[in-house]
Amino acid sequence: MEPRYPKCLDPKTKPSNFCPGCGYGIILKTLGQVIDEMEVAPRTVFAVDIGCNLLAWNYYKLDTIQTHHGRVTPLCVGYKRANRESVTIGIAGDGGLYAIGLQSFLHAAHRDDPVTIIGVNNTIYAMTGGQLAPTSLLGQVTDTSPQGKFTYEKPVLGPELAKEMASSSAYLARGSILNIPQMKGMLKAAIERQLAGHFAFVEIMSYCPTNWKTDAQQSIETLEKLEETFKVGVINA
């Protein structure tokens, strides 16, 4: 039997180019289900950033633009301002959002731009082969933190940081691919909040078996451990 894809996914581009065991497939499929269920596909515009998420440029049967280098947020902000009826969704990794795209991300929150941004956090730069991310933990070994050197005392906590600058009306949450129903609810809430005219952000904890060098069981265990630092839940309702 064929797997049941959400209607807004483009079957022609499946299977996608993500590594086996990558968390992106789960996130994108869940987002697709939300778009279907909310019946917003005809007015949805999707934007991807630099990093592994750029592979999703043809994932959906939705108008999609591939941006670069942490610029997905201002692209979404710019589009949405010109088309208030649209549902504008951007996705980026932890490097794109919290390093090179941080100021755009924070200022969109500050201006309360009505866009939905999804940040995928696997505590590492994955597409470039495993470098230190702003979300990496103290002592974490990556290509640019050999032996755990050069790491930060504490990782960037995106939604918590955004709360400092965001409007009180913004929706800020952290979900995980280990709890798909909860993550789905957060994605839905984030689109609803955009439609209500406010900024919405969901960080999703995800795994990267390729760079973590973990098998399926180890990936889950590692992610469970990470969630002790990156607490799942709604940060600003």
Binding site: N58, R71, G78, R81, A82, N83
Partner: protein, 346 residues
């Protein structure tokens, strides 16, 4: 239409021309000497709900927001200068690979780095080939305030007709100057069209998996650019037919040179001017034709030779004329200086 002269600053002129060309949306970040245009737009937009305005956190974001506006089918534009111009090349190359009608006015200021705040001609390389660009863009260089009025309108039309990023490359002297302008010279505006949420689904990519895929994409863009270039390319050859000395100059210096040539002709000096109006594409043929009788070529520019290198490369095979340089990086060049230089070398 009857001539309608108004006394305006270059800033007023850019704003007025953009509105006449159908600009609906402006996203930008303040930087001298281009800020006043942004202020003007904000003021207009505050009174007109049809006009959209966004002040972003930096110029890269401004450029990305412009691209967002273009995807929605709004005539979106920005203005910048100097270091902001460097940052905005990042979104501009995205517009280049996606063939988007990105319109930008650049008021050159001094460089490198923060340099000075009003005037220079040092952003030519950046405008023509900034970023990891293949130069798939149009760069117009107005030489006076009247031309600024017409070229700003034309830039929007070129951008939307050929789907090419289009830059109007001016400077702070040009936009701060108050001068009479004939504002009856209005050009009919091209139509804008939404790219997203319009007819079929579009997946736009800027990243290719394989070298040959990107090469194929680029070859299509190069072919389109070459065809469009023939329609777009513009230059002015002024009294070059019998000229012993041909001046090569552009932008505000180009107009100063024209006035100098007019004065020198009254003194029976066989002097001419070649002035590119599009800095990219560049009118190679026009330049070559202009120097047929020349035994000296005077290159005048407010930079250390950015324009001179283009001129010498273009004319390599075309002339044995001697090159004389009047390079004044970061400083203006007046008609009197050009006239004096010609008299010195004539």
């Amino acid at each position: 239409m009857a001539v309608k002269k108004e006394l305006l600053t270059g800033n007023d002129v850019v704003l007025k021309a953009a509105l006449l060309a159908g600009a609906e949306y402006f996203a930008g970040y303040p930087i001298t000497p281009s800020t006043e245009i942004m202020n003007g737009w904000a003021k207009e937009a505050a009174d007109n709900p049809k006009l959209l305005f966004l002040q972003t956190e930096d110029e890269t974001s401004a450029g990305m927001a412009v691209i967002g506006g273009l995807l929605a089918g709004k005539k979106t534009w920005t203005v910048t200068s100097g270091v902001g111009h460097i940052l905005i090349q990042d979104p501009l190359v995205l517009a280049e690979t996606l063939s988007l009608p990105f319109v930008m006015y650049v008021g050159q200021r001094g460089g490198p780095s923060t340099g000075t705040v009003i005037y220079s001609q040092q952003e030519l390389n950046l405008a023509r080939y900034g970023g990891n660009s293949e130069g798939l863009r149009v760069v117009y260089a107005p030489s006076n305030i009247q031309e600024l009025f017409e070229i700003t309108q034309k830039a929007f039309n070129t951008a939307w007709r050929y789907r090419l990023p289009t830059i109007i490359l001016g400077d702070g002297y040009l936009t701060k100057t108050l001068s009479p302008v004939d504002t009856s010279r209005v050009i009919p505006a091209e139509k804008a069209e939404a790219i997203f949420l319009n007819k079929d689904v579009k997946n736009l990519r800027n990243c290719f998996s394989r070298e040959d895929e990107l090469a194929e994409h680029l070859n299509i863009l190069f072919a389109k650019y070459a065809a469009a270039s023939r329609q777009i390319v513009e230059s002015e050859s002024y009294k070059t037919n019998d000229a012993k000395i041909v001046i090569f100059a552009w932008g505000t210096v180009g107009f100063a040179a024209k006035v100098a040539v007019a004065n020198l002709r009254k003194q029976n000096k066989r002097v001419g001017l070649f002035r590119p109006i599009t800095m990219r594409p560049f009118d190679d043929r026009g330049a070559i034709k202009a120097v047929q009788k020349a035994d000296k070529i005077l290159i005048a520019e407010s930079s250390g030779g950015q324009f001179g290198r283009i001129v010498r490369e273009t004319l390599t095979q075309a002339t044995d004329a001697e090159y004389v340089r009047l390079y004044k990086p970061a400083e203006g060049i007046t008609s009197e200086e050009i006239e004096a230089k010609i008299k010195e070398i004539y």
